[in-house]
């Protein structure tokens, strides 16, 4: 007889193994799904996971992986800090939008002036925009005890309206024939977040994402703030005795994740996207939540998870193109990844025993 037994300590080995098992299970069940749709399963899996990296056009798609993964990693790192402490910022999408608006507004204010200071100023305001947007749920929580999950989530929709208003109003391109959308920052050299080396996909946003991984690693491992974050998440009462100021921690965690999301938005709008348009945001802020958990809230894990999710996006498009897979099947496939991770997760906390429970 099979029996579940709670582990006294979460298993370290399983916490590393479960993401791999989840990926493998996703491949198998995803393959079955593709087969049920009448598509060759092995080829589909190969197209999704292999072709973007080593296929005939990998020299194009590999840099694209970085471009797609950059904002996901940057946002997820910020979210993970909060999640570790049990502070749930679900509204990164909104902070991403506001950061993008602020960064772009700075650029458009200086247009068409040339100046080395413009791009750094955009970075500053991008981060600040996201930070301030995240301060709304942070202060409401510390002052009035509101739920940061709800407030931050609802502010996403406010931010979307703000974005539409900006694209239609103050930031609209005066030479755009009345169509909504700002000037294209890609055509404004002082503000353009171009690839640092052409053809590599490495723009400043990707660099920032890598830096954030390293900083988060050091912060969590070596810094007292990292200790506070961990202890608050694992044992909130003990945290009080350890001298953690909960309110301050809420402000710091939400602020940091907001600022990083804002930076991600700013790097995206000044680079790959280029335009303040009504549908600038495509859900990076929400997908980053998956990335954070897939990466076990660990900086290095998040780096890998971000790249993995980017791979499924780009490989998924290739599978659509070459195999006519419906986009919904790809979305199901991505969803499975998180589903299996959470499902397999119980192996970290429980073990399976065969046989009767021994008498106590």
């Amino acid at each position: 007889m099979l029996r579940l037994e709670r582990r006294p300590q979460p298993s370290k080995m399983w916490s590393y193994l479960t993401p791999l098992i989840a990926v493998a299970a996703t491949m198998i069940v995803g393959g079955l799904l593709f087969a049920a749709l009448g598509k060759p399963p092995v080829e589909a899996i190969k197209t999704i996971f292999w072709d973007p990296l080593f296929g005939p056009f990998a020299s194009y798609s590999r840099p694209q992986l970085l471009i797609k993964a950059g904002p996901l990693i940057l946002i997820a790192i910020g979210l993970a800090l909060g999640f570790k402490a049990g502070i749930w910022n679900i509204g990164a999408e909104g902070q991403y939008i506001v950061g993008a608006i602020c960064g772009a507004a700075v650029a458009l204010a200086f247009y068409p002036m040339d100046g080395f200071f413009i791009f750094p100023l955009m970075i500053l305001f991008g981060g600040l925009g996201g930070f301030l947007w995240a301060m709304i749920p942070a202060l409401l929580k510390t002052r009035f005890g509101t739920n940061e999950i709800l407030v931050s989530l609802m502010l996403v929709y406010v931010a979307e309206q703000l974005l539409a208003a900006m694209a239609l109003g103050p930031l609209k391109n005066p030479e755009g024939y009345g169509f909504p959308g700002s000037r294209n920052l890609q055509q404004y050299e002082a503000a353009y977040n171009a690839e640092i080396i052409a053809g590599t996909g490495m723009h400043w946003g990707v660099v920032a994402a890598l830096i954030s991984v390293i900083m988060a690693y050091i912060l969590l491992g070596r810094h007292v703030l990292g200790f506070h974050i961990r202890v608050t998440g694992e044992a909130p009462r003990a945290a009080g005795f350890a001298g953690v100021h909960t309110g301050r921690l809420v402000v710091i965690c939400l602020g940091l994740s907001g600022a990083l999301a804002g930076l991600a938005g700013m790097f995206e709008i000044s680079g790959p996207s280029g335009v303040v348009s009504i549908d600038f945001n495509v859900g990076y802020g929400f997908t980053a939540i998956i990335v954070a958990f897939l990466g076990r809230l660990h900086p290095l894990g998040i780096l890998l998870a971000g790249l993995l999710l980017a791979l499924t996006y780009i490989g998924g498009e290739m599978a659509q193109m070459t195999l006519n897979l419906p986009s919904a099947a790809i979305q199901v496939f991505q969803g499975m990844l998180l589903f299996f991770l959470l499902a397999v997760d119980f192996l970290t906390n429980y073990r399976v025993r065969i046989g009767q429970k021994e008498a106590v």
């Binding site: 056009f57 194009y60 798609s61 694209q64 471009i67 797609k68 979307e160 539409a164 208003a165 239609l168 109003g169 609209k172 024939y177 009345g178 169509f179 909504p180 294209n184 995206e268 790959p272 996207s273 280029g274 335009v275 348009s277 009504i278 549908d279 600038f280 495509v282 780009i314 498009e317 290739m318 659509q320 193109m321 070459t322 006519n324 419906p326 986009s327 919904a328």
Partner: protein
């Protein structure tokens, strides 16, 4: 000796190359903003793609990617298509304009066709349909059939294409019913069934008994059906499954002839960059069957208008028409020029509210 060897190997190479070249299919790519199952805009583009496949058979291969967000993702999908050997790529949403231009600059030998935009290049054509001609018919039926005199309109984005539709529908509704009023909700999306349904419900609660939509899903039709006593029109596609009520007619975008013609041009090597804007005359815009829920005299009136527009006898924007602020736009008998229509950013007199900006 050396020369003959060279010639022989060249001949061998040619001999191998020629059949390979002859075998090569023309590859046509499509980038869609919604899912092919949206039952509206993307569905009709996909019908056009299927028509290309059927018409050319083995000569042509088509590929598509659906639900592609307008922005960097679109640029990546187009690049990927071009890399994988597409000869002709149709990008079927307004927001694909800049990405199309960017990718086209990188692939001068690939032809691009962008729907509803205004930026062209040597290898980028634009094409659109005069949907506003269909809106004139819709407005006429709406004006005749509304009992509450309130017509609800779900706008997508406040761009000229959508504003033209609102103006055309309103002018023709008012012509047959001076008391008619339009309530407009901007959804800021092309495809979001939940948002579209909400917009329809709000409009119905505000008393609208006709719902017109410029969004791509069938959700507003379903909302109207659930509410009862409300009529709708199929948008971009026939949406016949919602007939005879609430759907009483529809505007159908018929892209197939254009897609076949342009693919043929690529095969023949005669493709050039053009700006196409066709309407009912060429059949690019069609009116779906008017259901029996519409009284016979109204149906006859609508059909007469369809005939008049298709023959070029009647132009939907014919003066006298004033702008919303009361200033004269078109004098008596004057018709609108394409330039003004293409950039239309104002409401006509009588419409309430402002265009978001």
């Amino acid at each position: 000796m050396k020369l003959t060897k060279l010639l022989t190997s060249a001949a061998v190479a040619l001999g191998l190359a020629v059949p390979a070249f002859a075998d090569e299919k023309t590859k046509v790519g499509f980038v869609y903003v919604g899912p092919v199952g949206d039952g509206g805009w993307t569905y009709e583009h996909n019908e056009g793609r299927l028509a290309v496949e059927e018409y050319f058979g083995d000569e042509v291969e088509t590929v598509y990617v659906e639900s592609v967000p307008e922005g960097p993702d679109a640029e990546r999908v187009m690049t990927q298509m071009a890399l994988e050997g597409a000869d002709l790529i149709f990008t079927t949403s307004f927001g694909y304009m800049d990405p199309t231009i960017n990718v086209a600059a990188k692939f001068p030998n690939v032809k691009f066709e962008h729907a509803t935009g205004y930026k062209r290049a040597d290898n980028v054509s634009t094409y659109s349909a005069r949907f506003y001609e269909g809106r004139a018919v819709q407005g006429t039926i709406a004006g005749r059939m509304t009992k509450s005199n309130i017509v609800g309109y779900i706008g997508s984005y406040p761009i000229p294409e959508v504003i033209r539709g609102i103006n055309s529908a309103y002018l023709h509704a008012r012509k047959v019913n001076p008391d008619v009023q339009f309530k407009i909700i901007w959804a800021f999306t092309w495809f979001d069934p939940a948002k579209e349904a909400d917009a329809a419900k709000v409009l119905i609660e505000q008393g609208a008994d006709v719902i017109l939509q410029h969004t791509d899903s069938t959700a507003p039709q379903a909302a109207a059906e659930a509410a009862g006593g409300v009529i709708t029109f199929g948008q971009a596609s026939d949406m016949a499954e919602f007939g005879p009520l609430p759907r009483v007619s529809s505007i159908i975008d018929n892209w197939a002839p254009y897609y076949i013609e342009r693919t043929q041009a690529v095969i023949d090597g005669t493709w050039t960059s053009v700006d196409t804007w066709d309407g009912m005359d060429t059949g690019m815009v069609k009116i779906g069957e008017i259901s029996d829920a519409v009284p016979a005299d109204v149906k006859a009136e609508a059909e007469a208008m369809i005939a008049a527009i298709a023959s070029g006898e009647y132009e939907p924007f014919t003066g006298p028409i004033n702008k919303q602020d009361g200033s004269v736009w078109l004098a008596d008998g004057e018709t609108a020029d394409d330039g003004t229509l293409a950039g239309m950013n104002f409401y006509v007199e009588g419409l309430e509210g402002t265009i978001p900006q």
